[in-house]
């Protein structure tokens, strides 16, 4: 049965083996992409699906398409990584709260519509259309034949798609770009401000963290000469997180005696 169906599709044995090994992997990865909780895992599986598809293309003599698939889509998934980290956050998990009204219904509708469109396209290209075969299509060379199709018959579609992609990229940039409330001071401004401020105590920079010779971790405040902790020696981020250790255990016990 299997053998017959393979013979019907005129698939050579190595190609059949490759198909039955890679196709399940690709489908599992694609499903995994949908059901993974972490956005980064989904993106990774997407990259894997793209690479599998590229191997399929290459196995079917569409070398240029396969290689470009890897160049373009792995790059694209890399961008997706950046967007995930910029827009959603490092460890973001999927939330099931619907923010836009009717988003689910709209996305189901759009998904079905796209599926129907793709199905009709694939049908138009394959049903009752005898295959010419890549041997003839590639007669002038794979790249050359593709180029002549792309830049003569399909030049309009090609340009429209590129305009669409640029628009999408700009849209993503606008979404990801948050306007800062105020102009941030640069290194030079900060330096001037330090010297023109009220006190010159911090002119050479804030004190470093840690207690000399006892502890040099970033979360331990430095000790001032009188034994009290210097609050400016700890990064504001650590303070906000509450990750600050008290320096008292590291202070010298009889500071007065030492001074004498």
């Amino acid at each position: 049965m299997l053998h017959q169906s393979l013979a019907f599709g005129q698939t050579a044995t190595p190609e059949a083996v490759q198909f039955w090994v890679l196709a399940p992997v690709a489908v599992i990865a694609a499903l995994g992409m949908l059901f993974m909780k972490k956005a980064v895992h989904s993106a990774l599986l997407l990259a894997w699906v793209m690479i599998t598809l590229a191997i399929f293309y290459i196995a079917q003599d569409a070398l240029f398409l396969g290689i470009v698939q890897i160049v373009v889509y792995t790059g694209a998934v890399m961008m997706l990584f950046l967007f995930i980290l910029m827009l959603v956050g490092v460890d973001a998990s999927e939330s099931l709260v619907e923010n836009i009204k009717g988003q689910r219904a709209a996305s189901v509708f759009a998904g079905l519509g796209l599926g129907g469109l793709l199905l009709s396209l694939a049908a138009r290209a394959s049903v009752n259309q005898p295959a010419i075969g890549l041997k003839i299509a590639n007669q002038k060379g794979n790249v050359q034949s593709l180029a002549s199709q792309l830049f003569t018959q399909y030049v309009w579609a090609f340009e429209v798609v590129s305009a669409l992609l640029i628009t999408a990229a700009l849209g993503a940039m606008v979404l990801a770009h948050s306007t800062k409330p105020a102009v941030r001071n640069k290194q030079r401004d900060l330096s001037i401000a330090r010297f023109r401020g009220k006190s010159l105590a911090d002119a050479a920079g804030l004190p470093g963290s840690g207690v000399f010779a006892q502890h040099n971790a970033v979360d331990v405040p430095a000790l001032l000469p009188d034994g009290s902790a210097a609050p400016t020696s700890i990064s504001a981020t650590l303070k906000a997180r509450g990750d600050v250790i008290s320096p008292t255990p590291f202070a010298l016990e009889h500071s007065e005696e030492v001074e004498e």
Binding site: A54, F64, I67, V68, T74, M78, R196
Partner: protein, 413 residues
């Protein structure tokens, strides 16, 4: 018979032996280049460098490798375990694969079999290398993300942004080579440079490629992904033992790979230096291997030289340079080149082509001068506002007991 046909006639054992050779050559080159880099940088800094293990310290890299293998292999508790393990494997696998399409010699006799020292010849060979490179970056980005700590994440993010930006410039510089040689296959590009190296004919592309290949391999002065002073070790901060060794290996194999690609695309590949063409037939054609590696090693020397000379760029300067200088200039160069090619293809009179070339040069100079002027004007306007001068203490001059306060205006006088 072209290269693809010769390689197609290879029996299985030749292909296997060649694949093994590529692997061995890459690993040995890594060991040698680690040693070479340390010795050269040391000489540049008036030191000796490693000179204890083996003659001239030649086995230092091997000793370091054994040391790394014997270290404890840590996986941080906050790490994403699976991705953390996969990342170095991706990095180390991808870097070897690009060597498959690089022709190392001309036609030679390999154990009595006529072949070329090239694993396979693809009609889109150069694109294949780009594809492999973009898969390789996943290793760095995933390592950064999966470590579950701040510095590696920053390193990984930097590296992904860096590679995306510099791959654009790199791809654009390759377009000029494709236009000029009419092919994307490495062997045909080498053959097209039989008379003139593309480094001379397409000099701007060569410069752009050379800069972006340093950016692509995360090497100084573009090593922002592992900037020691800022990010501890960047993406590999949390890695130890063999996993770290894999990243190390990947970095050096990558350097050799981009150098080999640069040699193939711009320096005539395995062809001899101009005027020494008669050497190509020495040793039954095997002497071309010497020329190839001589060129690769000189590229590697430039990598080390850069590291010994230039300080690391700041991140925003680096991005500005990539997007505002490299990419626009390579776009402009491709436009000019394509116009010239079209003119010569349509048999335009020589006068027209010469006028066009001179015109382009004049326009470039005009734009550069205007740009410089605008920059000088901006600098003139950028002066400190006149605020009341503060006074600050200076140490006492010998013989004077008191600490004096000096007015800023006095110093300026």
């Amino acid at each position: 018979m072209n290269n693809a046909a010769i390689l197609g006639a290879d029996p299985g054992w030749v292909i296997l032996v060649k694949a093994l050779l590529v692997f061995v050559v890459c690993v040995v080159l890594t060991l040698m280049s680690v040693w070479g880099e340390r010795r050269i940088v040391a000489r540049m800094q008036q030191r000796l460098g490693p000179n204890r293990v083996g003659k001239f310290g030649l086995l230092q890299a091997l000793a370091d490798g054994i040391k790394l293998a014997l270290k404890e292999d840590l996986i941080p508790a906050a790490a994403d375990k699976l991705v953390f393990v996969i990342a170095p494997i991706i990095s180390a696998t991808a870097c070897f694969m690009s060597f498959a399409v690089i022709p190392l010699t001309g036609k030679v006799s390999f154990f009595g079999h006529q072949t070329i020292m090239q694993l396979t010849d693809l009609p889109v060979g150069v694109l294949y290398i780009l594809a492999i490179a973009s898969v390789g970056v996943y290793g760095i980005v995933l390592a950064g993300w999966s470590s579950g700590s701040t510095y590696p994440l920053l390193g990984g993010l930097r590296s992904s942004a860096q590679v995306i930006s510099y791959e654009v410039a790199m791809g654009l510089s390759l377009v000029a080579v494709f236009i000029y040689s009419g092919s994307m296959s490495t062997s045909e590009i080498v053959a097209a440079q039989h008379h003139y190296w593309f480094a001379i004919v397409l000099f701007p592309s060569f410069v752009i490629y050379s800069i972006s290949m340093v950016g692509e391999t995360n090497r100084a002065p573009f090593d922002l992904a592992e900037a020691e002073g800022e990010l501890v070790g960047g993406f590999h901060t949390e890695y130890s033992s063999l996993k770290f060794a894999l990243f190390f290996l990947a970095e050096y194999v990558n350097i050799v790979a981009v150098s080999a690609l640069a040699t193939t695309l711009f320096l005539g590949g395995y062809h001899a230096l101009p005027g020494l063409g008669f050497t190509e037939s020495w040793l039954g054609g095997w002497f071309t291997l010497f020329w190839f590696f001589a060129k690769v090693v000189s590229f590697f020397f430039v990598f080390v030289w850069l590291r010994g000379t230039l300080p690391r760029l700041r991140y925003d300067q680096f991005m500005k340079f990539g997007w505002k200088v490299l990419i626009p200039s390579s776009l402009a160069w491709i436009m000019i080149l394509a116009t010239l090619r079209l003119m010569s293809a349509h048999n335009f009179p020589r006068m027209v082509i010469a006028t066009f070339t001179v015109g382009v040069i004049i326009v470039i100079f005009l734009v550069l001068t205007l740009f410089d002027r605008a920059k000088i004007k901006l600098e003139e306007n950028d002066v400190l506002p006149d605020l009341p001068a503060p006074s600050f203490p200076v140490p006492a001059i010998p013989g004077q007991s008191q600490i004096t306060f000096v007015q800023r205006s006095e110093i300026n006088d």
